[in-house]
């Protein structure tokens, strides 16, 4: 991902009619920011790079300069000469100054963009001619030729191992993590853990409700479909579910909003947010009652999005079991259809259902991103999106870590449920 938080905010483009700070002072501020936040440290304990990688490239200021020097060193396999050539080129640019004639500028621009030997030779020679006696152009041509002459591209293939020791960003992050600290957000310096917990707190009810409702509906629907006399229901509802499945989430969310929360049609629910501001503290139950109308549309939307797939899976897993011998036996015993399905079929069809549900919660976090944006709910999905947009890496890592943790817990819980569903598993282990 290009860019970093600091580069975006400190080195931002001057897009206004007056100058708020020169490029140099911004670069200096950027450097001091990196030092202050220790983002100038190496990323990991060690790094393996090409032996053609220039050392000085890291300290260089400009992104484009860094890129050019890197490309030159890699192309010619000689970081030392490449750096020297690059420095001479910069000297020449300084010497030529902004008032240089347009031909000189064209060649300089060419040199700033190319690693091609023929082009470098041509432009360096042309500059030597144009600028005549200047030592800078002479030096540039000399180093350019030396660089081209000593081309050792194979050096790029040789690895170079460098050891950075404990002074690296990962080590810092990890040692903080072991102390229960996920780091601090780049944006307001608040603790990442707080941010994540707060975000989960807001969407927690939405996620839980939609998950319970989806599971319940999916189970009931699939049971309904399995029933022998439910052909009519199956024929009408299944295609309807398929159609819902084909509607993109954001369109579904907007449709719900337009039909159920707009003065032009039915205005049954609030349009956005998670409750209005209440000056006094509230009991959690009171708060839940207040929040309930806000949650209806997001929950309905999430249910509509997930229901088709899950119902379909449940239905197939049930109907697979329905052909088993023990079901025939159960029917032969004279059990009612209800008892056959709920007691015999369901328990045996539970395995794929548990697997599916264990993946449900982490997947929901991904699915709520769109819904949180449209309904303006500050949940975990939006936190992730905003941290990506602003390059707030600690928050990004924190959210991913928490979602991963959820996944691990979900798998653990599903293992327990496997055991409950089938005693044979418990006994085997």
């Amino acid at each position: 991902m290009p860019g970093s938080f600091a580069a975006q905010s400190i080195l931002k483009e001057n897009d206004s009619f007056y100058n708020t700070g020169s490029i140099e002072s911004r670069q200096a501020a950027y450097q001091s920011y990196l030092r202050r936040t220790r983002l100038d440290l190496p990323l990991f304990y060690f790094s393996i790079s090409s032996s053609a990688q220039p050392d000085t490239a890291i300290q260089l200021l400009q992104e484009s300069d860094k890129l050019l020097l890197q490309q030159l060193s890699w192309h010619y396999g000689n970081p030392k000469l490449a750096t020297e050539y690059f420095r001479n080129l910069k000297n020449l640019i300084k010497r030529a100054g902004p008032q240089a004639q347009s031909e000189v500028r064209v060649h300089i621009q060419e040199l700033l963009q190319t690693t091609d030997a023929a082009k470098i030779k041509k432009s360096a020679a042309a500059l030597q001619q144009l600028l005549g006696s200047s030592t800078e152009s002479f030096q540039l041509q000399q180093t350019a030729e030396a660089l081209i002459y000593s081309k050792q591209q194979w050096k790029t293939l040789l690895p170079r191992f460098s050891w950075h020791g404990g002074r690296n960003q990962f080590h810092q992050w990890l040692s903080q993590l072991f102390q229960g600290n996920l780091g601090n957000s780049y944006r307001d310096n608040s603790s990442v853990l707080d941010l994540v917990l707060k975000a989960i707190g807001t969407t927690w009810w939405v996620l839980l409700l939609s998950m319970l409702l989806t599971t319940f509906l999916a189970l009931e629907l699939s049971i309904l479909f399995v029933k022998q006399r439910a052909g009519k229901w199956r024929k009408t509802l299944l295609p309807l579910l398929f159609i819902t499945d084909r509607i993109p989430v954001f369109i579904l969310a907007l449709l719900l909003l337009i039909f159920l929360a707009s003065p032009d049609f039915l205005q049954l629910f609030p349009v956005y947010g998670m409750g209005a501001y209440q000056p006094q503290d509230q009991h959690w139950l009171q708060r839940f009652v207040n929040l309930f109308p806000y949650m209806v549309l997001p929950v309905v939307c999430l249910v509509c999005v997930n229901l088709p797939y899950i119902t379909n899976q449940f239905y197939w897993s049930l109907s697979d079991v329905s052909h088993a011998d023990f079901i025939r036996t159960a029917k032969a015993k004279g059990l009612s259809e209800r008892q056959v399905i709920r007691k015999h079929m369901l328990r045996n069809a539970l395995f794929p259902i548990i697997t599916l549900l264990s993946d449900f919660l982490p997947a929901l976090v991904g699915g709520v991103v769109v819904i949180e944006t449209i309904f303006a709910i500050p949940g975990i999905g939006r936190l992730l999106i905003e941290s990506v947009q602003t390059r707030d890496y600690p928050v990004m890592v924190g959210v991913v870590l928490v979602v991963a943790l959820f996944k691990v817990i979900a798998h653990f819980v599903s293992d327990i449920f496997y055991g409950l569903a089938d005693p044979r598993i418990r006994q085997k282990s």
Binding site: S9, F17, A29, P98, Q113, D188, N189, A261, L268, M274
Partner: protein, 573 residues
């Protein structure tokens, strides 16, 4: 069955009653596009935060949106400026009445403290530091605790604005232990690297960089008329009016220092459609940046216009096309003019903006009639003329396009058009240009770029042609960063590579112009040169699209951001 039907009916009725939160008439609800993230007056990140901090803290100068003019806010008057050989002195007096939340006066010491915070190392001030890079020293006067002088390096026209355009911080609240008192502004302005090891600075920075100074309502108390009541991340920010705010009882006539609504509530709604629905359900009182097509529909909606007033003031946001004159294919003026003739600007305004744009001849906004050059004829869309100009530029037309010998090679004229990905206005504009250019026999490739990459490419001048925007203002026109050759080096802001010694002299003269008349004449001259050179092809100035509830008066709708002054809103009888 009947029971269920009754129950459903009852439920619907109940829901529709509790569907919308209750509103207080004296509260203004404003939409924010995203969370302010931090309300630290030194390190804020986005325009929403700036809008809120403006209601909590004050700077020395302010812009009155009523007439878009710079006026003194905490300062008593605009600064007295004395230009010396090497230094320029800006002298201010702070209003006697001005006071902080605890009733203590705002003094020059607070201004000195603010400067120190902005300049100190280790403090999270990197993005604002460079704004006052020209300040060399701060002079206090023993005789008058409210009077002070900024000693600044050389002079440029924006300095007057910049010396008065940062939030003044309360020393008593931000540095109760007086950790910064041991340092002088001069000492910090020199940027001595040893200061980074100073224990006092370190402990101040640790405190100031903490989350408290980003969101704690007990700390974020300034001299302006509002206080932070509640901020629920991602949902809303509520501000409450101060009782007996000093700004209401100033000695001089200051109708622009206002704190009228009792409560201002910023609602964070990222999605445009949702925000529009919220507006229609009367959950918002102010909404700006309404999409052009929606705005046209709203204008026709009589039930909506009964409650809301719609405004479309001329903004100072400007869209243009930049051509990279450093490239051999574009270093000829006729070629660039040909491209200008292929940009069907009127059509662009009509299609991409539903006509909410005003064509312009140059970067000076037509909304500033004193400086805008009305005598320039805008480039019309004209294929034949474009072909003629290409021929004049040395291109020859062959069966599959235009060819010219560049650096000894016969090259075909192709253009790659860049723009920020996700900007639909530019995307459609680029598509229209692509079609027009195809008719003229020029193949155009569209290349939307992610914003960091876009910035990187334009910084290193790796582009052919690019759709871009600029935000301007009606009072300062320093075009040096865009057109002066000293900014044309790698990484500089003169991305088109425009410039010659003559235009450099002209740009310097504009900045040094002593009076308005001279300045206007020089600016008009610059516009003519820019128009002829066509390195920056101006497209249009945008019109803002704002809706404000009709129960409010004195809304001060303006083309300048944030386009309205929410603190001035009054309830109509």
């Amino acid at each position: 069955m009947k029971k269920t039907a009754n129950l459903v009916c009852f439920l619907f009725l109940l829901l529709s009653f509790c569907s919308q939160p209750q509103r207080r008439p004296d509260e203004v609800q404003v939409r924010l596009f995203n969370d302010p993230e931090t309300l630290n007056p030194v390190s804020y990140q986005n325009s929403g935060a700036l809008q809120i901090i403006n209601l909590l803290f004050q700077s020395l100068l302010t812009v009155d949106l009523e007439d878009n003019r710079l006026k003194p806010s905490l300062a008593e008057a605009l600064p007295e400026i004395v230009q010396g050989d090497t230094l320029t002195m800006f002298t201010y007096n702070i209003r006697e009445e001005a006071e902080w939340s605890d009733g203590s006066s705002v003094t020059a010491a607070d201004v000195a403290f603010t400067l120190k915070v902005m300049l100190a190392p280790l403090v999270n001030n990197e993005q604002i530091k460079s704004q006052i890079e020209f300040v060399r020293d701060f002079i206090k006067y023993e005789s008058d605790p409210n009077r002070f002088t900024f000693a600044c390096r050389s002079f440029s026209p924006e300095m007057e604005l910049l010396t008065g355009d940062f939030f003044i911080l309360p020393e008593y609240l931000f540095d109760p232990d007086g950790l910064l008192q041991a340092f002088t502004v001069k000492q910090l302005a020199t940027g001595d690297p040893d200061l980074e090891n100073n224990a006092q600075l370190k402990s101040f920075a640790d405190r100031f960089n903490s989350v408290d100074f980003a969101r704690n309502r007990e700390v974020l108390k300034g001299s302006a008329g509002y206080e932070l009541e509640n901020w629920t991340t991602g949902q809303y920010v509520i501000l409450k009016r101060k009782e007996n705010w000093w700004g209401n009882n100033t000695k001089s006539d200051t109708p622009y220092l206002t704190a009228n609504p009792n409560q201002i509530s910023f609602q964070i709604i990222p999605d445009n459609t949702t925000a529009l629905l919220a507006l229609k359900s009367k959950q918002l009182d102010v909404l700006n940046n309404i999409p052009a097509t929606e705005f046209t529909l709203l204008r026709k909606d009589s039930t909506f216009t009964k409650d809301y007033a719609l405004h479309a003031p001329d903004s100072y946001d400007f869209n243009y096309v930049a051509l990279n004159t450093r490239l051999p294919k574009f270093n000829n003026r006729y070629t660039r003019q040909a491209i200008a003739h292929l940009l069907d600007v009127d059509n662009l305004i009509k299609v991409t903006l539903s006509n909410y744009g005003t064509r312009t001849a140059g970067p000076v906004p037509p909304a500033a009639p004193n400086y805008y050059n009305q005598d320039i004829t805008l480039y019309p869309y004209n294929q034949a003329k474009a072909a003629d100009l290409l021929k004049a530029g040395g291109w020859t037309h062959k069966e599959d396009g235009w060819y010219k010998s560049l650096n000894g090679k016969n090259e075909k004229l192709t253009i790659e058009v860049n723009y920020r990905a996700g900007n639909t206005i530019f995307e459609n504009s680029a598509l229209i240009f692509q079609q027009n250019a195809a008719k003229a026999g020029i193949p155009v490739i569209l290349q939307p770029l992610e914003s960091s990459l876009f910035r990187q490419k334009s910084r290193s001048f790796e582009y052919d042609m690019s759709f871009r925007s600029l935000s301007g203002n009606p009072f300062i026109f320093n075009f040096k960063p865009f057109f002066h050759t000293s900014f044309a080096e790698e990484g500089g802001s003169n991305i088109t590579g425009f410039g010659s010694p003559e235009t450099d002299a002209l740009l310097d003269a504009i900045n040094l112009a002593q009076n308005d008349k001279e300045k206007a004449a020089l600016l008009k001259e610059l516009q003519v040169v820019l128009h002829e050179e066509a390195a920056m092809i101006p497209l249009y100035y945008l019109k803002e699209r704002i809706a404000v509830h009709k129960r409010f008066g004195n809304t001060k709708i303006s083309g300048l951001k944030p386009n309205y002054d929410v603190s001035a809103f009054t309830l109509k009888e």
